[in-house]
Symmetry: C2
Protein backbone atom coordinates (compact mmCIF):
# COMPACT_ATOMS: atom_id res chain seq x y z
CA UNK A 1 0.00 0.00 0.00
CA UNK A 2 1.09 3.51 -0.72
CA UNK A 3 1.26 5.67 2.37
CA UNK A 4 -0.04 8.69 0.47
CA UNK A 5 -3.08 6.85 -0.84
CA UNK A 6 -6.53 8.02 0.25
CA UNK A 7 -8.11 5.21 2.20
CA UNK A 8 -11.20 4.90 -0.05
CA UNK A 9 -12.84 3.43 3.00
CA UNK A 10 -11.39 0.00 3.57
CA UNK A 11 -11.70 -1.72 0.25
CA UNK A 12 -11.62 -5.17 1.77
CA UNK A 13 -14.47 -4.43 4.12
CA UNK A 14 -17.48 -4.30 1.83
CA UNK A 15 -19.73 -7.20 2.64
CA UNK A 16 -21.47 -6.80 -0.71
CA UNK A 17 -18.20 -7.49 -2.44
CA UNK A 18 -17.56 -10.75 -0.66
CA UNK A 19 -21.16 -11.76 -0.94
CA UNK A 20 -21.02 -11.36 -4.69
CA UNK A 21 -17.70 -13.15 -4.93
CA UNK A 22 -18.89 -16.17 -2.99
CA UNK A 23 -22.35 -16.20 -4.53
CA UNK A 24 -20.92 -16.15 -8.06
CA UNK A 25 -18.80 -19.18 -7.34
CA UNK A 26 -21.48 -21.09 -5.48
CA UNK A 27 -23.95 -20.45 -8.29
CA UNK A 28 -21.47 -21.36 -10.97
CA UNK A 29 -20.64 -24.67 -9.30
CA UNK A 30 -24.34 -25.33 -8.89
CA UNK A 31 -25.02 -24.46 -12.52
CA UNK A 32 -22.53 -27.11 -13.60
CA UNK A 33 -24.37 -29.69 -11.52
CA UNK A 34 -27.81 -28.62 -12.73
CA UNK A 35 -26.52 -28.75 -16.28
CA UNK A 36 -26.51 -32.53 -16.06
CA UNK A 37 -30.32 -32.29 -15.80
CA UNK A 38 -30.57 -29.54 -18.44
CA UNK A 39 -31.83 -26.99 -15.94
CA UNK A 40 -30.40 -23.55 -15.14
CA UNK A 41 -30.15 -21.92 -11.74
CA UNK A 42 -32.95 -19.46 -12.48
CA UNK A 43 -35.17 -22.27 -13.72
CA UNK A 44 -34.44 -24.19 -10.54
CA UNK A 45 -35.61 -21.23 -8.48
CA UNK A 46 -39.00 -21.33 -10.21
CA UNK A 47 -39.35 -25.10 -10.01
CA UNK A 48 -38.53 -24.91 -6.34
CA UNK A 49 -41.11 -22.21 -5.82
CA UNK A 50 -43.85 -24.09 -7.65
CA UNK A 51 -43.05 -27.33 -5.87
CA UNK A 52 -44.28 -26.02 -2.56
CA UNK A 53 -46.84 -23.64 -3.94
CA UNK A 54 -48.33 -24.92 -7.16
CA UNK A 55 -50.75 -23.16 -9.53
CA UNK A 56 -49.46 -19.71 -8.95
CA UNK A 57 -49.79 -16.53 -10.94
CA UNK A 58 -46.57 -15.51 -12.72
CA UNK A 59 -46.76 -12.22 -10.87
CA UNK A 60 -46.84 -14.09 -7.57
CA UNK A 61 -43.74 -16.05 -8.52
CA UNK A 62 -42.06 -12.85 -9.69
CA UNK A 63 -42.71 -11.24 -6.35
CA UNK A 64 -41.54 -14.26 -4.38
CA UNK A 65 -38.28 -14.48 -6.32
CA UNK A 66 -37.72 -10.75 -6.55
CA UNK A 67 -37.79 -10.72 -10.35
CA UNK A 68 -39.85 -8.84 -12.92
CA UNK A 69 -42.87 -10.37 -14.61
CA UNK A 70 -41.04 -10.24 -17.91
CA UNK A 71 -38.21 -12.34 -16.53
CA UNK A 72 -40.65 -14.93 -15.18
CA UNK A 73 -42.48 -15.02 -18.48
CA UNK A 74 -39.31 -15.94 -20.35
CA UNK A 75 -38.18 -18.49 -17.78
CA UNK A 76 -41.66 -20.05 -17.76
CA UNK A 77 -41.46 -20.38 -21.54
CA UNK A 78 -38.31 -22.42 -21.17
CA UNK A 79 -39.73 -24.63 -18.44
CA UNK A 80 -42.81 -25.27 -20.58
CA UNK A 81 -40.65 -26.06 -23.61
CA UNK A 82 -38.77 -28.57 -21.47
CA UNK A 83 -42.01 -30.17 -20.35
CA UNK A 84 -41.47 -29.28 -16.71
CA UNK A 85 -44.27 -26.75 -16.23
CA UNK A 86 -47.60 -25.66 -17.63
CA UNK A 87 -49.33 -22.35 -18.09
CA UNK A 88 -53.12 -22.28 -17.73
CA UNK A 89 -55.58 -19.45 -18.31
CA UNK A 90 -57.74 -18.50 -15.36
CA UNK A 91 -61.46 -19.15 -15.71
CA UNK A 92 -62.51 -16.16 -13.65
CA UNK A 93 -60.16 -13.49 -15.01
CA UNK A 94 -59.32 -13.42 -18.69
CA UNK A 95 -56.01 -11.71 -18.04
CA UNK A 96 -54.73 -14.09 -15.41
CA UNK A 97 -52.51 -17.10 -15.90
CA UNK A 98 -51.39 -19.87 -13.59
CA UNK A 99 -48.11 -21.75 -13.49
CA UNK A 100 -47.81 -25.32 -12.27
CA UNK A 101 -45.40 -28.23 -12.45
CA UNK A 102 -46.03 -31.17 -14.73
CA UNK A 103 -45.69 -34.64 -13.25
CA UNK A 104 -42.20 -34.79 -14.70
CA UNK A 105 -41.32 -31.43 -13.22
CA UNK A 106 -42.56 -32.56 -9.85
CA UNK A 107 -40.50 -35.73 -10.04
CA UNK A 108 -37.41 -33.76 -11.00
CA UNK A 109 -37.40 -31.35 -8.06
CA UNK A 110 -36.15 -33.84 -5.44
CA UNK A 111 -33.27 -34.78 -7.74
CA UNK A 112 -32.32 -31.15 -8.18
CA UNK A 113 -32.67 -30.59 -4.46
CA UNK A 114 -30.16 -33.37 -3.91
CA UNK A 115 -27.74 -31.54 -6.19
CA UNK A 116 -28.38 -28.38 -4.21
CA UNK A 117 -27.65 -30.28 -1.02
CA UNK A 118 -24.38 -31.48 -2.44
CA UNK A 119 -23.42 -28.03 -3.64
CA UNK A 120 -24.25 -26.53 -0.27
CA UNK A 121 -22.14 -29.16 1.44
CA UNK A 122 -19.16 -28.32 -0.77
CA UNK A 123 -19.24 -24.65 0.13
CA UNK A 124 -20.79 -24.55 3.58
CA UNK A 125 -20.19 -28.03 4.93
CA UNK A 126 -17.32 -26.85 7.07
CA UNK A 127 -19.58 -24.49 9.03
CA UNK A 128 -20.88 -25.62 12.36
CA UNK A 129 -24.65 -25.79 12.79
CA UNK A 130 -24.66 -22.58 14.78
CA UNK A 131 -22.65 -20.66 12.21
CA UNK A 132 -24.79 -22.08 9.46
CA UNK A 133 -28.07 -21.09 11.01
CA UNK A 134 -26.67 -17.68 11.90
CA UNK A 135 -25.86 -17.02 8.25
CA UNK A 136 -29.22 -18.32 7.15
CA UNK A 137 -31.01 -16.15 9.66
CA UNK A 138 -29.08 -13.05 8.64
CA UNK A 139 -29.75 -13.59 4.93
CA UNK A 140 -33.44 -14.20 5.45
CA UNK A 141 -33.62 -11.16 7.70
CA UNK A 142 -32.17 -9.00 4.95
CA UNK A 143 -34.76 -10.35 2.53
CA UNK A 144 -37.48 -9.62 5.03
CA UNK A 145 -36.34 -6.09 5.74
CA UNK A 146 -35.71 -5.27 2.09
CA UNK A 147 -38.94 -6.94 1.08
CA UNK A 148 -40.88 -4.59 3.29
CA UNK A 149 -38.97 -1.56 2.13
CA UNK A 150 -38.84 -2.28 -1.57
CA UNK A 151 -40.99 -0.40 -3.98
CA UNK A 152 -42.83 -2.66 -6.40
CA UNK A 153 -40.28 -4.13 -8.78
CA UNK A 154 -41.86 -2.87 -11.95
Amino acid sequence: MRPDMPTASDLSSHLGYWLRYVSNHVSHAFALKLGSCDVTVAEWAILRELYGDDHRAPSHVAHKLGLTRGAISKLADRLIAKGLATRTASASDGRAQTLALTAGGRRLVPKLAALADRNDAEFFGHLGPKQRSAVERILKEIVRIRGLKSTPID
Copy 2:
Protein backbone atom coordinates in the same frame (compact mmCIF):
# COMPACT_ATOMS: atom_id res chain seq x y z
CA MET B 1 -47.79 -28.19 1.58
CA ARG B 2 -49.09 -31.51 0.37
CA PRO B 3 -48.68 -34.24 2.94
CA ASP B 4 -47.81 -36.82 0.28
CA MET B 5 -45.06 -34.71 -1.21
CA PRO B 6 -41.51 -36.05 -1.09
CA THR B 7 -39.49 -33.68 1.08
CA ALA B 8 -36.88 -32.87 -1.60
CA SER B 9 -34.64 -32.03 1.31
CA ASP B 10 -35.87 -28.82 2.84
CA LEU B 11 -36.19 -26.41 -0.02
CA SER B 12 -35.89 -23.37 2.16
CA SER B 13 -32.66 -24.56 3.72
CA HIS B 14 -30.14 -24.10 0.92
CA LEU B 15 -27.73 -21.39 1.89
CA GLY B 16 -26.67 -21.06 -1.73
CA TYR B 17 -30.20 -20.08 -2.63
CA TRP B 18 -30.42 -17.27 -0.11
CA LEU B 19 -26.91 -16.17 -0.83
CA ARG B 20 -27.77 -15.75 -4.49
CA TYR B 21 -31.05 -14.02 -3.71
CA VAL B 22 -29.45 -11.45 -1.45
CA SER B 23 -26.34 -11.03 -3.57
CA ASN B 24 -28.41 -10.35 -6.70
CA HIS B 25 -30.29 -7.59 -4.97
CA VAL B 26 -27.27 -6.06 -3.30
CA SER B 27 -25.40 -6.04 -6.60
CA HIS B 28 -28.32 -4.62 -8.50
CA ALA B 29 -28.76 -1.77 -6.04
CA PHE B 30 -25.02 -1.14 -6.20
CA ALA B 31 -25.08 -1.20 -10.01
CA LEU B 32 -27.66 1.59 -9.99
CA LYS B 33 -25.41 3.69 -7.79
CA LEU B 34 -22.29 2.99 -9.85
CA GLY B 35 -24.22 3.87 -12.98
CA SER B 36 -24.10 7.51 -11.93
CA CYS B 37 -20.32 7.29 -12.46
CA ASP B 38 -20.63 5.21 -15.63
CA VAL B 39 -18.98 2.19 -14.01
CA THR B 40 -20.33 -1.36 -13.73
CA VAL B 41 -19.96 -3.72 -10.79
CA ALA B 42 -17.41 -5.91 -12.56
CA GLU B 43 -15.41 -2.84 -13.57
CA TRP B 44 -15.45 -1.68 -9.98
CA ALA B 45 -13.99 -4.99 -8.86
CA ILE B 46 -11.01 -4.47 -11.14
CA LEU B 47 -10.54 -0.82 -10.22
CA ARG B 48 -10.63 -1.82 -6.58
CA GLU B 49 -8.07 -4.53 -7.18
CA LEU B 50 -5.68 -2.24 -9.03
CA TYR B 51 -6.05 0.53 -6.48
CA GLY B 52 -4.24 -1.46 -3.84
CA ASP B 53 -2.03 -3.44 -6.15
CA ASP B 54 -1.17 -1.47 -9.25
CA HIS B 55 0.71 -2.60 -12.37
CA ARG B 56 -0.54 -6.14 -12.31
CA ALA B 57 -0.70 -8.79 -14.98
CA PRO B 58 -4.22 -9.46 -16.28
CA SER B 59 -3.75 -13.07 -15.25
CA HIS B 60 -3.00 -11.97 -11.71
CA VAL B 61 -6.17 -9.89 -11.60
CA ALA B 62 -8.12 -12.80 -13.07
CA HIS B 63 -6.87 -15.08 -10.36
CA LYS B 64 -7.57 -12.58 -7.60
CA LEU B 65 -11.13 -12.02 -8.79
CA GLY B 66 -11.81 -15.63 -9.71
CA LEU B 67 -12.50 -14.81 -13.36
CA THR B 68 -11.01 -16.05 -16.62
CA ARG B 69 -8.34 -14.15 -18.49
CA GLY B 70 -10.78 -13.60 -21.33
CA ALA B 71 -13.23 -11.88 -19.01
CA ILE B 72 -10.51 -9.59 -17.63
CA SER B 73 -9.36 -8.77 -21.13
CA LYS B 74 -12.80 -7.52 -22.08
CA LEU B 75 -13.33 -5.60 -18.86
CA ALA B 76 -9.88 -4.04 -19.17
CA ASP B 77 -10.78 -2.88 -22.69
CA ARG B 78 -13.75 -1.04 -21.27
CA LEU B 79 -11.77 0.56 -18.46
CA ILE B 80 -9.16 1.70 -20.96
CA ALA B 81 -11.83 3.09 -23.28
CA LYS B 82 -13.18 5.05 -20.32
CA GLY B 83 -9.74 6.41 -19.53
CA LEU B 84 -9.61 4.76 -16.13
CA ALA B 85 -6.84 2.23 -16.76
CA THR B 86 -3.85 1.54 -18.97
CA ARG B 87 -2.33 -1.57 -20.47
CA THR B 88 1.47 -1.65 -20.87
CA ALA B 89 3.66 -4.26 -22.50
CA SER B 90 6.30 -5.80 -20.31
CA ALA B 91 9.91 -5.05 -21.22
CA SER B 92 11.25 -8.39 -20.07
CA ASP B 93 8.61 -10.74 -21.47
CA GLY B 94 7.10 -10.03 -24.86
CA ARG B 95 3.92 -11.89 -23.97
CA ALA B 96 3.21 -10.14 -20.71
CA GLN B 97 1.03 -7.11 -20.10
CA THR B 98 0.47 -4.94 -17.12
CA LEU B 99 -2.69 -3.17 -15.95
CA ALA B 100 -2.64 0.03 -13.97
CA LEU B 101 -4.96 2.87 -13.03
CA THR B 102 -4.73 6.25 -14.69
CA ALA B 103 -4.68 9.31 -12.47
CA GLY B 104 -8.38 9.69 -13.17
CA GLY B 105 -9.04 6.08 -12.28
CA ARG B 106 -7.15 6.48 -9.05
CA ARG B 107 -9.13 9.57 -8.17
CA LEU B 108 -12.39 7.80 -8.92
CA VAL B 109 -11.92 4.82 -6.61
CA PRO B 110 -12.58 6.66 -3.34
CA LYS B 111 -15.81 8.02 -4.78
CA LEU B 112 -16.93 4.57 -5.80
CA ALA B 113 -15.90 3.21 -2.44
CA ALA B 114 -18.18 5.76 -0.83
CA LEU B 115 -21.04 4.42 -2.95
CA ALA B 116 -20.12 0.91 -1.83
CA ASP B 117 -20.17 2.08 1.77
CA ARG B 118 -23.62 3.49 1.28
CA ASN B 119 -24.88 0.35 -0.42
CA ASP B 120 -23.46 -1.82 2.33
CA ALA B 121 -25.14 0.34 4.92
CA GLU B 122 -28.49 -0.07 3.19
CA PHE B 123 -28.33 -3.84 3.27
CA PHE B 124 -26.15 -4.63 6.26
CA GLY B 125 -26.42 -1.52 8.39
CA HIS B 126 -28.84 -3.19 10.75
CA LEU B 127 -26.30 -5.85 11.69
CA GLY B 128 -24.36 -5.44 14.88
CA PRO B 129 -20.58 -5.30 14.62
CA LYS B 130 -20.26 -8.87 15.84
CA GLN B 131 -22.76 -10.21 13.33
CA ARG B 132 -21.16 -8.23 10.61
CA SER B 133 -17.66 -9.43 11.25
CA ALA B 134 -18.94 -12.99 11.63
CA VAL B 135 -20.45 -12.87 8.15
CA GLU B 136 -17.32 -11.30 6.74
CA ARG B 137 -15.13 -13.92 8.34
CA ILE B 138 -17.29 -16.77 7.07
CA LEU B 139 -17.33 -15.44 3.50
CA LYS B 140 -13.59 -14.89 3.42
CA GLU B 141 -13.04 -18.31 4.90
CA ILE B 142 -15.03 -19.88 2.08
CA VAL B 143 -12.94 -18.00 -0.44
CA ARG B 144 -9.80 -19.18 1.28
CA ILE B 145 -10.86 -22.80 1.40
CA ARG B 146 -12.19 -22.84 -2.15
CA GLY B 147 -9.18 -20.91 -3.37
CA LEU B 148 -6.92 -23.65 -2.12
CA LYS B 149 -9.08 -26.36 -3.55
CA SER B 150 -9.91 -24.86 -6.90
CA THR B 151 -8.27 -26.10 -10.04
CA PRO B 152 -6.97 -23.27 -12.20
CA ILE B 153 -9.94 -21.53 -13.76
CA ASP B 154 -8.96 -22.16 -17.35
